[in-house]
C-alpha cells in the first residue's frame, strides 16, 4: 500500500507513464525531476503520510528506492 502510494505520487508529479518500472526512477534519469518537482514530491510525501521531513532528509529523497528506504526507517508510517 505504502509503495503503491509512493508510485502514484511519482507518476502524478513527474508525469510518468503508469507502466514505468519504479526501480529505475531517480532524479538522474528523469528529466522532469528538478528542484520544483523535488519540492512537490516532499510535499506530497508529508501530506500523504502525515510526516515532517527535515531539510537534510529531503535532499536525499532523489529516487523511488531512496524514498521507500526513508519511509521504512520511519515506523510511524503505516
Amino acid at each position: 500500500m505504502r509503495n503503491e502510494t509512493v508510485k502514484e505520487i511519482l507518476i502524478v508529479v513527474l508525469e510518468l507513464d503508469p507502466g514505468t518500472p519504479m526501480d529505475q526512477v531517480s532524479s538522474e534519469n528523469i528529466a522532469l525531476w528538478d528542484s520544483m518537482r523535488q519540492l512537490s514530491i516532499v510535499t506530497a510525501l508529508e501530506s500523504e503520510f502525515g510526516l515532517f521531513i527535515d531539510a537534510a532528509e529531503a535532499v536525499t529523497l532523489t529516487s523511488y528506492n531512496n524514498i521507500i528506504n526513508f519511509l521504512e526507517s520511519h515506523p510511524e508510517v503505516g
Partner: protein
C-alpha cells in the same frame, strides 16, 4: 478525505493525491481572481488551493508576489483592485524575527518595535478589499529578554486580531520546509490552510448573524422536561447543569448586544414553558423574541419564525443537542448555520468561541440593545402550518444503526419497565407497570420486548419497550424521545408484523395530555381509531413502510410471538 486532529479539533483534510484527482477533472465552474500576498514561496499550496476552491464551487486564479518582496509590496502604489489575501508571519511585520536571516546582533528598541507593528497594520489599511490570515509561527529570537519576546509575540497576535485577521494555528508553519525551500508551510496541513485561504474570499464573507435559535431540552437545561419533569432538570451553577447555566448567561449577554434569541422545541407547549414560568431558569420567558413549541419539524418552526420576524435564513444560528435535528434543519434550510450544543464541558470553550465569531459586533448601539423589544411588538404568534421536515433518509442510512431486540424475562425486566414508567411523549397510553404486575403478565402469556439502538457514533442503550399479550394485543408501547425521527417506531412494528400471523394489530390506546408524538404517529402511519380500539391493518402498513426496516441492521429475536404462543 481524511480527518486530522488540530488543536483539539478534527479538521477534514485532503491528501496530495486526493487533491490531484479533484484538480484534474474538467469543470465549468466560474473563476475567481485574487492576489495571494505572502513573503514565502507559495507553490506548495497551489494544488490544494485549486482543489479547495473547486470543492467550494469555483476555480481560483491568483497572482503571487516574488519571494521576500511583501514589505515592498505593502508600501508601493496599488496596481490592482483585486481582492488581496495576506498570508502573514511574524517576520513580515518585524523582519528581525525571520529565521532565514539568522539572529540579529543589533539592539532592539522596545517602543520602536511596537510602533512598527502598528505602522505595518496601518499600511495594510490602504488595500480596500482584503482578508488577513495570520500564522503565529515561532520566530527567531530578537532579544535575550524572554519576557519581552513573549510580550512581542502576544502583541503581534493581539494586533492582528484587532485588525480583523483570522489567526490560524501555528502548526501550519514548518521551519524545516522554510529553511530548505523558502516555503514556510507544513506539508501535513496544506489542505486546511488552503481551505482557510479560499474561505477568506469575499464570496464567503457574511454579515454578523442576528438571531440565535435554541433548542430547550439538554441545551437550555440538562434533562428532558416532558419526560423527567421540571423538578428533575438542571441548569443552576450548583448542579450538573452548570454548562447550561453558563449558556443561558451567554444568551443574556447576546440579547443585551441586540441578538434576538428564539426558542424552538419539539415539545408540548405548556411543558416547554414550565421551567421558565417556575423560575428555574436564568434566561426568562420574556427574554425570548419568540417561542415555538410544537411537534412539527424544527425546520418548519424556523421557517415560521423567519416569516414572522421578516428576517432572512442566513441571519440565523441554530443550536441543538441532537444530530438528527441539526441534519434535518441543515438539509431543509442550508442557509442556517447549525451548531451542536457541547455534550461535554471540555468542548464548551470552542462552542462559545464559535458563537462569538458568528455574532461578531464591533460596536453596540442603544437600538441594538432594544432590538428584542422592537421585534416582539412586530411578532404575531401564528399557528405553524403542518410542514413535513426535510427527508433525512440518506442521513439515517449513513448512521449505520443497529437495532437489537431482546425478549425479556425476570432477570432483565428492570430497564424496559423503567422506560415504560418514565416515557410520556411516545407512549401508547401512559399506563405504568410494576415488576409484580409484569410477572403476572408474563405468567398469562404476554411478552415484554426491549429494543436497543446503536449507531456509528455510539450506543443509545434501550430505547423502546413493547408488551404484547398472548392474544396479540399491544398493551404497552413506548420509545425514548432521544431517538425520535429515526423511524424506530416503524421498524419495531414492521418486526412485529413479520412475527405474527394476524392481518391486524390491536393496541390498548388512550389519549393523554402528553402523548402527542404518539397521536401524531397514529395519524401519520394510517392506524384506524374508533371509540374503543386502535387497529393497524398490517398489509398496507408493511407495503408502505417496508423500506424503513432497511435503515437498520437487526440483531436478536425477530419472532416476538412465536415463542410465547
Amino acid at each position: 478525505m481524511g480527518i486530522i486532529a488540530l488543536k483539539g479539533l478534527n479538521v477534514m483534510s485532503l491528501s496530495f493525491l486526493e487533491a490531484s484527482k479533484i484538480v484534474v477533472a474538467d469543470n465549468n465552474l466560474p473563476t475567481e481572481d485574487f492576489v495571494l500576498a505572502a513573503s514565502g514561496q507559495t507553490e506548495k499550496l497551489a494544488l490544494f488551493i485549486k482543489a479547495a476552491s473547486i470543492q467550494q464551487g469555483f476555480n481560483s486564479s491568483y497572482k503571487t508576489l516574488p519571494f521576500n518582496t511583501l514589505q515592498q509590496y505593502v508600501v508601493s502604489p496599488a496596481t490592482t483592485d483585486a481582492h488581496h489575501i495576506f498570508l502573514l508571519f511574524p517576520w513580515d511585520v518585524l523582519p528581525d524575527m525571520d529565521w532565514r536571516s539568522g539572529v540579529t546582533t543589533s539592539e532592539i528598541n522596545e517602543g520602536a518595535v511596537f510602533q512598527a507593528i502598528d505602522d505595518f497594520i496601518e499600511k495594510l489599511a490602504r488595500f480596500s478589499s482584503k482578508s488577513l490570515l495570520y500564522i503565529p509561527a515561532p520566530a527567531a529570537p530578537v532579544t535575550c529578554n524572554y519576557h519581552f519576546s513573549m510580550a512581542l509575540v502576544h502583541h503581534l497576535q493581539a494586533s492582528f486580531f484587532k485588525a480583523g485577521a483570522t489567526v490560524l494555528p501555528a502548526d501550519f508553519f514548518s521551519l524545516a520546509s522554510y529553511l530548505s525551500s523558502g516555503s514556510p508551510f507544513a506539508g501535513k496541513f496544506l489542505s486546511p490552510l488552503a481551505d482557510a485561504v479560499v474561505s477568506a474570499l469575499p464570496r464567503h464573507s457574511t454579515a454578523p448573524k442576528k438571531v440565535l435559535v435554541t433548542d430547550f431540552d439538554n441545551v437550555m437545561w440538562r434533562g428532558v422536561v416532558g419526560e423527567d419533569g421540571v423538578d428533575a432538570i438542571q441548569c443552576s451553577n450548583e448542579s450538573a447543569g452548570y454548562i447550561h447555566y453558563i449558556y443561558q448567561s451567554y444568551l443574556l449577554k447576546l440579547k443585551s448586544q441586540g441578538v434576538l434569541i428564539a426558542g424552538v422545541t419539539r415539545n408540548d407547549h405548556e411543558d416547554a414553558l414550565l421551567p421558565f414560568r417556575q423560575g428555574v431558569t436564568l434566561f426568562k420567558e420574556h427574554d425570548f423574541v419568540s417561542l415555538q413549541a410544537s411537534y412539527q419539524s424544527k425546520s418548519a418552526q424556523i421557517k415560521a419564525l423567519c416569516s414572522n420576524l421578516n428576517i432572512s435564513m442566513d441571519s440565523i444560528v441554530f443550536v441543538d443537542d441532537n444530530l438528527l435535528e441539526l441534519e434535518e434543519v441543515r438539509q431543509a434550510l442550508p442557509a442556517v448555520e447549525c451548531r451542536m450544543f457541547p455534550g461535554r464541558s471540555e468542548d464548551a470553550p470552542g462552542f462559545f468561541a464559535f458563537l462569538q465569531q458568528q455574532f461578531n459586533f464591533i460596536q453596540i448601539t442603544n437600538e441594538d440593545r432594544q432590538r428584542t423589544e422592537f421585534y416582539k411588538t412586530r411578532f404575531k404568534a401564528t399557528e405553524i402550518s403542518y410542514l413535513p421536515g426535510a427527508d433525512i433518509t440518506d442521513y439515517l442510512r449513513s448512521l449505520e444503526m443497529v437495532l437489537t431486540v431482546t425478549k425479556c424475562d425476570a432477570s432483565n425486566y428492570s430497564r424496559p419497565l423503567q422506560l415504560i414508567n418514565k416515557a410520556n411523549q411516545f407512549n401508547l397510553n401512559g399506563v405504568r407497570v410494576g415488576e409484580d404486575q409484569m410477572r403476572d403478565l408474563i405468567a398469562s402469556g404476554a411478552a415484554l420486548y426491549s429494543y436497543s439502538l446503536a449507531d456509528k457514533f455510539g450506543d443509545h442503550g434501550q430505547i423502546c419497550s413493547i408488551i404484547v399479550s398472548e392474544q396479540g394485543v399491544v398493551s404497552h408501547f413506548v420509545i425514548s424521545c432521544r431517538v425520535f425521527q429515526r423511524k424506530v417506531e416503524y421498524a419495531v412494528l414492521l418486526l412485529l408484523a413479520d412475527a405474527i400471523s394476524a392481518d391486524t394489530l390491536m393496541f390498548d390506546y388512550y389519549k393523554t395530555d402528553k402523548n402527542i408524538p404518539f397521536q401524531m404517529f397514529i395519524s401519520e402511519a394510517g392506524f384506524s381509531l374508533s371509540d374503543d380500539e386502535l387497529l393497524l391493518d398490517l398489509e398496507p402498513f408493511v407495503n408502505k413502510n417496508r423500506a424503513y426496516l432497511e435503515l437498520f441492521n437487526i440483531d436478536g429475536a425477530l419472532l416476538p410471538l412465536s415463542e410465547g404462543s
